[in-house]
Every structure is written in structure tokens, then in C-alpha cells.
């Protein structure tokens, strides 16, 4: 049987908006996924600890504040420390093209920029989990 896709959505950094994340959360729920939402202003340590305990398929980190180049290396180091290098990490938010390239080089599976159409988000996440296979 196919199990439900589990996603953790987290906001890292200082910006105080979570309307966008909440819209994405509802989109994913309506597509049949279980979405753990952990709230605003999380640190990479908090996000990774939560993602490990929740054993999510996908860790979705959203940031608007331009801190992605420091946040993601930290996240990957922590995932390794927690022995969950197999977790799929997706970034969301606003960032320049060269950052997108750099993040993918670091191991971010996909970067979904603001205003990505909902169906594209769903298809991307579903595709990533499918490609990973059973675990």
C-alpha cells in the first residue's frame, strides 16, 4: 500500500509572515498529504530536530530574508549528524537565480520560488518522493 506523504513546513529567520506557508500547507493537505507546521522564527536546529522526530519525507524550508546561504549548509550538517541524510530538502521563498544554482549544488532537491503554481508544487513533491522509493 502507498503511505501518505509527510511534509514538514518551517519558516526560518526573522521575517514575520507565514501567510504564504499556510497557503502551501492547505494546498498540500488538499492533495492528501500530512503537513506538520512548526511555526515562525525557527532555527535550523529546531527545524531539523522536528523533521527527524516527525520522520517526514520532505523538509520544506521557507525563507524570505536572504539568509539561505548560511541556513542550508547548517541544515545539511545537522541532518547528517542526526543520521537522516536521506531526507529530501526543498527550499521556498524569494532568491536570485545564482542562489538557486548554489543551493541545488549543496543538495537542495528543488527550489520553489514564490508564486509557483499549486499544482506544480504538488507534482514536484510527489515526484521527489516517488523517485526516492520506499524507506
Amino acid at each position: 500500500m502507498s503511505t501518505q506523504i509527510r511534509v514538514l513546513l518551517a519558516k526560518v529567520g526573522l521575517d514575520g509572515h507565514d501567510r504564504g506557508v499556510k497557503v502551501v500547507a492547505r494546498t498540500l493537505r488538499d492533495a492528501g498529504m500530512d503537513v506538520v507546521y512548526s511555526g515562525l522564527h525557527r532555527t535550523p536546529e529546531e527545524v531539523v530536530t522536528a523533521a527527524v522526530q516527525e520522520d517526514v519525507d520532505i523538509l520544506g524550508v521557507s525563507l524570505l530574508s536572504g539568509v539561505q546561504m548560511t541556513v542550508f549548509p547548517k541544515i545539511f550538517a545537522l541532518l547528517k549528524e542526526h543520521k537522516v541524510e536521506d531526507m529530501i530538502v526543498v527550499a521556498g521563498g524569494v532568491m536570485p537565480d545564482e542562489d538557486v544554482i548554489e543551493l541545488k549544488r549543496m543538495g537542495v532537491a528543488e527550489v520553489l520560488l514564490q508564486d509557483t503554481p499549486p499544482q506544480h508544487i504538488i507534482d514536484t513533491l510527489t515526484g521527489l518522493v516517488k523517485a526516492r522509493g520506499d524507506r
Partner: protein, 323 residues
Amino acid sequence: MARPYIPSLDLIEPAARGETWAVARLISRAEAGTPEVREAIGEIYRRAGKAHVVGITGVPGSGKSTMVSKLVRKLLDAGERVAVVAIDPSSPYSGGSILGDRIRMSDLVLDPNVFIRSMATRGAVGGMAHAALDVVDILDLAGFDRIIIETVGVGQDEVEIAKASHTTVVVSAPGLGDEIQAIKAGILEIADLHVVSKCDRSDANRTLTDLKTMLKDGLGSALTRGWLPPVIGTSSYDDQGFEELISGFGKHLAHLDGPAGAARREQISVFRLKKAAEALMLERLRRHPAFEPEGRRVAARQTDPYAAASGIVKQFSMEKPHV
């Protein structure tokens, strides 16, 4: 980075050592309820049984998650290792869910003696309560002293989970309507401890009085059970009532050590046995090859659903299981 599938049996030892990734992965497998995990769950069950399982239930917005967060902090300060399982309903339309209880527990996340897991009501084979209790055993094996399950006190599954805990706490809150909400939801009877939350509010006194009056009417049945559920007022904002709540746990545990406790434990075991049997039966029954041809006959009105179903069940119960 992909990695090879780790058989559930091989996850038991790292989980027993308290390695979070292994505990978390076993929980996912138990939740999915695939046949592969069953042997592991069986072994885990035999090794578990040390933790105190507390079910906390109450209508939406009654302050459960905020309370759990405060409660866990106190238990940690007392040197305990604590796990929280926060269960939220799935959307009946999509089967998906938004699990948001963690937001109120964010202070706890980085404490190495805490484990928090969110679960949705749907998605478990053979019912939610069955899977939730398997999850409890995994956490027990991993060495958590106290396991707290938060459920919304509406719906059959959620009530079953609360009843299957050692100690059931029913939360009522002021300001959510005139009635004690737990009565409407039919969950007043399952309480071993009553909590009136948000006692920093001026209207909390009325809720306390109403609840106590209500309980006096059912006094007889409580006394025959040998346990009178206390009513405890708490405030998560003012940090009130938590010592009383924790000492209530202690008293209820002491009560469970007596004859009443043996009956309770037996009742929980029978419940689990029934759920496990139902899950196995359903799984086999649903795969039965007769459904499609019989379905076509029902569609053509050559037979009716009841006659066809009773035929399939009869046939099914005579077949040898090959799982």
C-alpha cells in the same frame, strides 16, 4: 541521498538505545501498518510496558497543547524523559491533514529528553487507536517514562485512544459556550482526571462549579469503580495547577496498582487484541477476489449487496489464511 531499506527488525536495537531516527522511522512504519513491521511490533510489545501513558482529550481550542507543553516542562524538571503524540483529524475530503500542535510546544523541541510526534487520524490500517498504541510501545521501548497522547475529543477513534491510556484527562475550558463541552461530546464519562483549563480567566470559576455539580450526579458510578475523578483547575498562562495535576497522576497510578488497575490493563489488552484481529481480517477480506465478480452481479441487480456480502463472508471464513 538514497539509502537501502532498513528492515523494521533491524531498527529495534537502535530505537531501544534511544536513537531518534530509528524511533521515528519505526513509528512511520507502525502508522502505515504494513505487514513487514508486524514482527517488529510484536517483539517491541513484549519488551515494553514500563511507561505511564496519559491520554489528554477535550474539544478543539480547550488549551490542550499549551497545557501539554507546560506539563512536559515540569516533568522534565523532575528528571523524566517524556514523549508526546499529538493527534489531529484528517480532512474527510482529501485524507490529508495539517498538524499544528507542535507550534505550541516549540519551547521543548531542543530538549534531548523530549520526543514530539504528530499523527493524523486517517492513514492507519485497522483504525487509529490500534496504530497509536503501537506507537506508544515504540516510545516505551525507547525509554520514555511518560507518554502523553493529545487527541481532540470528538470522534470514535480519538475517544478510543483516550480510553486505552492508563490515565485519561478530559479538559474543559471556560468561554467555549454555556454547557460543559465534554458532556455534549460524550467524553465526560471517560475521565480519570478532569481539568478546567484557562483558570486565569474570570469565567473559569463558573466552569469549575458547573463541572463539579455535574459530577455529583454521577457520583454513584464513580464510587463503585473505586476512583473519584478529581477536578483540577489549571492555567498555562499563570503556571497554575500543574503540581496538583502531576500528583493526580501519581494517585491514579497507585489506584491502578490495585485490583481496579488489573481490570483496566486487561480491558486495554482485550481492546488491542480485538483491533489487531480486525486489522488482519479486514486486510485479508478486502483482498478477496470475489468482490469484483459479485460487484458486477450486484450492479446488474442479479443479487443484492447483503446477500452477496454474506456469501463472500461465508466463503472467506472457511478459507485458510495464507499470510
